[in-house]
């Protein structure tokens, strides 16, 4: 099983890997070792000599069964309230407006509520039971409620970072130190891409409602992994991918010929000069040319029938709305993009939470549910993992007419990709303040461990050496939530 060698031409051209490959080969030949006897992974991963700058140690990291092949992460940026989405807290409603019990909050970190008087705020909207599983979902999210039997709702999420920027970094990289790879980059690094014509890790944005918290490009950075593993941001304005369109006054035939000549002259150089980078460069121009047609084909939604547009609630295809992005995400999944991340900004409901919940939920509810249904209809849900959630939750204490940031509890859901539907995982206390500390608690590191597990990767064995240390997505933490696996 040649799982370890990424199947994209990206791989063939990375100079570090080529050198490692060369070195390893030389080593094997000289030492007389039997090639077949050594895990192929070693070829990619190198042997971890201290003389090498970058040497991954994937040795046994991919020995597990692979349930999911790709991820669509619907990132609700700003931090949706768990109390208005998936975590039903009648007790909190009972003490609405009363002082929040100090026993919960003493010595805890707060954000904007630091130093303020703390009062309980009951849930703004009622919850309904849905489907055979009877899962409770807020009335803000009727469409998501309708697919409750496909969802694994995790209510015991918790994180360590209380401000947006570091919390996103933590959610993506498991660390707040800059320069660490994001989970999409890790996956791409470990598994390679499935598409030769599209980037393996794509990021899109949309926004509705309250002021959108900024989301930095470092959230999809490959950090210390080679930059080919970084997320590529698709734009809703201009070219979908930077510089993917031909320049003005250059038609397709001219562009094709220019690229041909670049390749031909590089080929001549390669005859004179021993430099593996030249062949790599030639391959990149071929790939670039393919991207120039495959990206527009991907983003052209004209061939999507009206009923599909309606299912997602797409008003104007390609308008940069969350609905349009969800539809694009499905097309990317079909075309083999490994990690798709849709940021939807506007969930930072410090004030007027009742109004803004309506706006935010209204913008994502139908399309999120449609994506899961559409994938299911196409038989893709089994190996596509959809994750829906923010970087943290919101306080059960009120902040004016809204809620503040909260790290001790929040809710997300997953669907497909080898995760059981129609189930709940983890709980919070009666007021939704803190996760219950049992086997079903889910720290961000645990989420990462579980995610990698679904891809057949042992999170403890999947490492990359940087600055003399073997780094993992999960650092030295992480427990796999086996109970949610189908």
């Amino acid at each position: 099983m040649n799982l370890y060698l990424p199947r994209t031409p990206y791989n063939a051209v990375d100079v570090e890997e080529r050198r490692r490959h060369l070195t390893r080969r030389a080593f094997l030949e000289r030492s007389g070792a039997n090639l077949g006897g050594i895990a192929l992974a070693g070829l990619v991963a190198g042997e971890g000599s201290a003389n090498q700058r970058t040497s991954g140690r994937l040795t046994d990291g991919l020995s597990l069964p692979q349930r999911a092949k790709r991820v669509i992460h619907l990132c609700m940026a700003g931090g949706p309230s768990h109390l208005e989405t998936f975590d039903h807290k009648p007790k909190l409603a009972e003490i609405d407006g009363q002082p929040f019990p100090e026993s919960f909050t003493r010595g805890q970190q707060l954000a904007q509520l630091q130093g303020a008087e703390l009062k309980a705020r009951g849930p703004v909207k009622a919850f309904q039971r849905h489907g055979q599983s009877g899962q409770l979902v807020s009335e803000y999210l009727p469409h998501i409620g309708a697919i409750a039997d496909d969802l694994c709702v995790i209510r015991s999420m918790h994180t360590e970072q209380i401000n947006h920027d570091p919390a996103h970094a933590f959610m993506n990289t498991g660390s707040t130190i800059k320069g660490r790879p994001s989970m999409g980059s890790w996956l791409l690094y470990g598994l390679g891409a499935e598409s030769e014509e599209l980037p393996g890790f794509v990021v899109m944005h949309s926004h509705a409602g309250r002021a959108g918290q900024p989301v930095s490009a470092r959230q999809w950075s490959s950090g210390f992994l080679p930059s080919k593993y970084q997320g590529i941001q698709f734009q809703s304005q201009g070219d979908a991918v930077h510089y993917v369109g031909n320049p003005g006054g250059v038609c397709q035939s001219t562009q094709r010929q220019v690229i041909e000549e670049v390749k031909a002259l590089n080929g001549m150089l390669s005859e004179r000069q021993l430099d593996p980078e030249i062949d790599a460069r030639i391959a990149q121009y071929e790939m670039a040319f393919r991207m120039q047609s495959s990206v527009p084909e991907l983003t052209d939604l004209q061939d999507e029938p009206q009923h599909v547009l309606d299912l997602y609630g797409v008003e104007t295809p390609g308008d940069g709305s969350f609905a349009s992005n969800c539809l694009l995400a499905r097309r990317m999944a079909e075309r083999g993009v490994r990690f798709i991340q849709l940021y939807h900004r506007g969930w930072d409901h410090h004030n007027e939470i009742d109004r803004y919940m309506g706006v935010s939920a209204g913008a994502v509810d139908r399309a999120s549910a449609a994506l899961v249904q559409d994938l299911k209809q196409r038989g893709m849900l089994d190996d596509t993992l959809v994750i829906w959630g923010g970087e943290f939750g919101r306080t059960p204490m009120g902040q004016g007419s809204g809620r503040d940031h909260h790290i001790n509890a929040f809710s997300i859901w997953m669907a497909g990709g080898g995760v059981k539907g129609g189930m709940s995982w983890g709980q919070t206390d009666e007021l939704g303040y803190k996760f219950i500390d049992n086997d079903e608690k889910m720290h961000v590191h645990d989420l990462h461990a579980t995610l990698l597990h679904l891809f057949g990767i042992d999170h403890e064995k999947f490492t990359h050496r940087f600055q003399g240390r073997d780094f993992r997505l999960t650092d030295v933490h992480g427990h796999v939530a086996k109970g949610i696996m189908a």
């Binding site: 140690r57 800059k178 930077h242």
Partner: protein
């Protein structure tokens, strides 16, 4: 001998290479990597995480009599069979075997054999090479054509041992191109290349090196890696990622390299320039270094948490930039591989406890910072100082002279007539202002007003009113028949308790608009004598564009603001003149009118040419151009710029944060100190050490790390790899320098030459080692894939900045001016959409600013320029000592389609066409010589000629494509009849700019 081969095989890379090296096992080269990799994590320096009390990184502990559950000492020198470590490594029972299976590390047979042999030979430990004092080793005795200096002697000696020949010298064309790109980041001008080729080998080489070292572009080239290390950027990085004012620091770095400032002084000025006696402005600018960490202004962020982040960032930077050490690891626990303790980490942080900085740069209820009361996302990030910028001064002088020349064109005759008229007016109104009578006032919210005399308006509220109120004030026109400016005075009034504000308010805001017969008359300049400074993206807003706002402290003082009209207006007797003010808090005001333009409050009514152009109704020529220049000159602030600096304040308390947890106050309180295992700072009196002590310590002759780290990085610039292979880790895990003696020799030479950077660079580039061909042979590459032995040069793709510079330089577009504010290259639209607080838009620089070198690119940390990102520039969130070099389709797309490169190609084609006597052959030759430093081969000519012919036909038929092609970027090229030819040649130029050879230095 069989054993020897086994042993080195485990080292992976240098198998047969090392076979020639006789002698013992070396602890540092052979043993430490094995122990460090497999054992130290649990049996190393971290005393809080040491399994079974066994410590293997120091001789005394490793050979100590058994303790705990051990049968014998881990290591018994000379007796591998009696050593518990060997027994455990070789144990057949997995339960006894080390490392334990859950650690996922395995010691293979070869490694075990090395350890055995080492113990047999006495288990001699050596201190880690980079922590030993730098002694100058004697260069090996060597003679011959290859030996130009000591570098060659070391390299030659080692290669001889290995039985390898060095490579031939690179061809002179390649060598010249390599030198120019390595020393200036720019290609050599063709005439300079021809001069070099025609010259005598050795002396013209030296002359070329001298030339390039003396070029101002040397400083720009050397600054790029330095800016990575100090994490230089134009924005703060966290959350709203607002701009910070800091470009003078970049100028400082460029100037320092150009002036060959001794490196020790360079370091001292940056770390502690403010603590020097009577620091110069330049030394203060240098301290921007301590302010380049990412900071936040996010609401809800806790100052204490962010101060902890900033502290840790500074320690990491000192560690990576100067000590070549991964100090970051000691933030939460003692270092696992190197002898840094968690106390060392926080003692280092304590040196910076005096740096004046706010955890959160605003005054929020959740983060009270009274000093920053009223600060918004548009404000700068203090402390800052205002300094001369030669670049801005030059630009200001240029604009002044343009304005002067423009005004020389003004017709003298009507001007003297105007002057006569104005002199008569001034005889009656010497200030140039006529106070206007008020005939009528309307309040939008109905607050009562009354007039004192005809001219002074007093506003009173019965109840305290919220928000703005509008007053429409109808004026009598005065004596003058034209109006060029008006003035609003706010007067302290007894009814308002002697303040200019009403109802007990302390501050006012005001916007004013002039209407004639109901139509708004636009204002071009506005200025107030007293105002609260308004900001937009960290820069001062001029011309009261964000309104006129006062300061509390000025509430009892008279205020005035002058407004100059964009175009002066004639006044007729029955014109209805009205001033509408939107204000809050204004209590008493008076309005004056003037026929003479005034663009600042303290100007006297000059009757000069500029004011003539601005004041005389009938003169329309030159006015908007004069105003444009005037505004641009004003915007340059006299050629001064704000820049972040370090200002010392009362030191904050620094504690060990257990597990790095900022909320845990239980840790030990620490004072500044350097890592305990390194040479100490002499401090007999026991006073608190300062950043200045740290700075001197960093560059003391005894410090083993700073000079080694820097020399190693500089070496990397010229060979693609450091002598020690990991630039940011000279520690235990960082890898063995195959040419360690050479590194030490160069380091000693560097320090003893008074830290002379140009001398260091000259020594490197004049060596035969540097001048070797980068060609290599398959055998050589196979034997030494990383080129650790230096039997050849290494091809290197240009860094992102220089990929840009190269294209602009060969095309003739490059703006070669030095220093100054950041520029904005073309950028795809919408890229900043996910940014907020405030929302950002991107406007590409216009005119020559568009073609500035890559080093001046605006560095938006959260969304740095896609061209830069695609070519592996780091975001500079964190100190970065080494860039990765990738090879991706995004790079191809950038070179093919980014308007910068398309525009450059068009200009390149045009330039080559003219240089090549308007023939294809001539043009192609010019292109190749400029971009590749060589003529084309016949095969290249054949293909490119075919491309040219085919595209010439295409563009002749499809002439509708021409305009778009020649309008890339801001250019509008019109080659007329030659268009199809030049369009075709532009495609040839695109090919040349896209060649791997163009962006690689061989």
């Amino acid at each position: 001998m069989k054993f020897r081969i086994l042993a080195i095989t485990s080292l992976g890379i240098f198998c047969s290479l090392s076979a020639g090296r006789a002698g013992e096992i070396s602890y540092n080269r052979d043993v430490r990597p094995i122990l460090s990799n497999h054992c130290f994590a649990c049996h190393g320096p971290d005393e809080n995480d040491r399994e079974a009390g066994v410590r293997l990184d120091v001789f005394e502990a490793a050979t100590a009599p058994p303790s705990g559950g051990l049968d014998s000492a881990p290591i018994v020198p000379g007796k591998p069979d009696a050593s518990e470590m060997i027994a455990r490594i070789e144990a057949s029972d997995p339960a006894d075997r080390m490392p334990p299976s859950e650690f996922l590390h395995r010691i293979d047979r070869e490694e075990a054999a090395i350890l055995r042999k080492w113990i047999e030979e006495g288990a001699k430990y050596e201190e880690h090479w980079s922590y030993l004092p730098v002694k100058r080793p004697k260069a090996p005795r060597a003679t011959g054509f290859f030996i130009r200096n000591e570098i060659d002697a070391f390299v030659w000696d080692r290669l001889r041992e290995e039985g390898i020949e060095p490579s031939k010298p690179a061809g002179r064309r390649r060598l010249a191109r390599r030198l120019a790109l390595d020393l200036t980041g720019l290609p050599l001008e063709p005439n300079r290349l021809e001069w070099f080729l025609a010259g005598n080998g050795e002396s013209s080489f030296d002359a070329l090196v001298d030339d390039l070292l003396a070029s101002p572009h040397f400083g720009e080239r050397m600054a790029v890696p330095w800016l990575d290390v100090v994490r230089f950027a134009d924005t703060v990085g966290y959350h709203g990622d607002q701009p910070m004012n800091v470009f003078p620091y970049r100028d400082y770095v460029i100037n320092a390299f150009n002036a060959n400032k001794p490196f020790n002084q360079f370091v001292i000025e940056q770390v502690a320039g403010d603590l020097l006696e009577n620091p110069t402005t330049e030394q203060l600018v240098a301290t921007g270094f301590n302010r380049l960490n990412m900071v936040t202004r996010e609401g809800g962020a806790q100052p204490k948490e962010y101060i902890a982040k900033y502290n840790a960032d500074r320690v990491r930077t000192i560690g990576t930039a100067f000590l070549g050490s991964t100090l970051a690891c000691a933030e939460c626990h003692d270092h696992k591989f190197d002898p840094f303790s968690i106390r060392d980490f926080y003692r280092m942080a304590a040196f910076f406890a005096d740096v004046k900085q706010w955890g959160v740069y605003s005054n929020y209820r959740s983060a009270p910072n009274p000093e920053l009361e009223g600060w918004t996302n548009e404000h700068p990030f203090p402390p800052e100082i205002r300094v001369d910028s030669p670049f801005l001064k030059g630009r200001s002088a240029k604009l002044e002279s343009e304005l002067g020349e423009l005004l020389l064109k003004v017709d003298g005759k009507p001007m003297s007539a105007w002057r006569g008229e104005m002199e008569r007016f001034l005889a009656g109104s010497p200030t140039g202002w006529e106070v206007a009578g008020i005939t009528e006032v309307k309040s939008s919210k109905g607050s009562p007003t009354r007039l004192e005399g005809k001219e002074v308006l007093v506003i009173r509220d019965k109840v305290k009113m919220k928000g703005e109120e509008k007053h429409a004030i109808v004026l009598e026109s005065g004596e003058s028949s034209t109006l060029a400016a008006f003035r609003i005075e706010l007067l302290p009034h007894y009814e308002h308790g002697g303040k200019v504000t009403r109802n007990g308010l302390e501050e006012f805001s005001l916007r004013a608009e002039l209407k004639r017969n109901g139509e708004v008359v636009p204002v071009v300049f506005a200025d107030a004598d007293r105002a609260r400074q308004q900001y937009a993206l960290g820069s001062e807003v001029r011309n009261l564009k964000k309104g006129w706002k006062s300061r509390k402290a000025d509430a009892r003082l008279r205020h005035e603001a002058v407004f100059q009209l964009r175009d002066p207006i004639p006044l007729e007797a029955n014109d209805r003149l009205e001033i509408q003010i939107s204000s809050s808090g204004v209590g008493c005001l008076r309005v004056s009118l003037s026929p003479i333009a005034r663009h600042s409050f303290d100007e006297s009514p000059e009757l000069d040419a500029l004011n003539f152009v601005s004041s005389a109704v009938e003169v329309k020529e030159f006015r908007s151009e004069a105003h444009r220049l005037r505004e641009a000159i004003d915007g340059l602030g006299g050629g001064k710029a704000w820049t972040l600096v370090t200002m010392a304040a009362e030191p904050r308390e620094i504690r060990v944060l257990p597990r790095g947890n900022w909320q845990d106050d239980s840790g030990e309180l620490l004072s500044p100190g350097v890592p305990e295992f390194l040479p100490p700072i002499a401090n007999e009196s026991g006073r608190r050490l300062t950043r200045l002590d740290l700075a001197h310590w960093l560059v003391s002759r005894e410090n083993p790390l700073t000079a080694r780290t820097f020399v190693n990085r500089v070496w990397q610039q010229f060979f693609g790899r450091g002598l020690a292979p990991v630039l940011d880790d000279l520690g235990s895990q960082g890898g063995w320098p195959e040419h360690g003696e050479l590194l030490d020799w160069l380091t000693a030479e560097f320090m003893e030459s008074d830290w002379d950077v140009k001398h260091l660079v000259r020594t490197i580039v004049t060596s035969s080692t540097y001048r070797q061909s980068s060609q290599g042979s398959p055998e050589l590459i196979d034997r030494d894939p990383y080129n650790s032995l230096l039997a050849r040069q290494t091809p290197r793709r240009l860094d992102a900045e220089f990929v840009r510079d190269h294209a602009l330089a060969v095309s003739g577009l490059l703006n070669r001016s030095l220093g100054g504010p950041s520029a904005f290259p073309y950028q795809p639209p919408g890229y900043y959409t996910p940014l907020n607080f405030p929302v950002r838009s991107y406007e590409a620089s216009v005119g020559e600013d568009q073609y500035r070198r890559g080093i001046y690119t605006h560095w938006q940390r959260t969304f740095f320029h896609p061209m830069m990102a695609n070519f592996d520039a780091p975001s500079r969130d964190e100190c970065t000592a080494e860039r990765v070099t990738s090879n991706t389709p995004q790079q191809a797309l950038t070179l093919l389609n980014d308007p910068t490169f398309v525009e450059a190609a068009a200009h390149f084609a045009l330039r080559a066409w003219n240089e090549g006597a308007q023939t294809f052959d001539g043009a192609l030759d010019a292109m190749f010589r400029r971009a590749l430093g060589r003529p084309s081969t016949q095969r290249e000519w054949n293909r490119l000629f075919a491309l040219y012919e085919s595209r010439r036909g295409h563009y002749t038929k499809n002439d509708d494509e021409l305009v778009a092609l020649f309008s890339a970027g801001q250019s509008r090229i019109d080659p007329g009849e030659q268009s199809p030819r030049l369009a075709a040649l532009t495609q040839v130029a695109r090919v040349v700019l896209n060649l791997h050879e163009s962006i690689t230095r061989y």
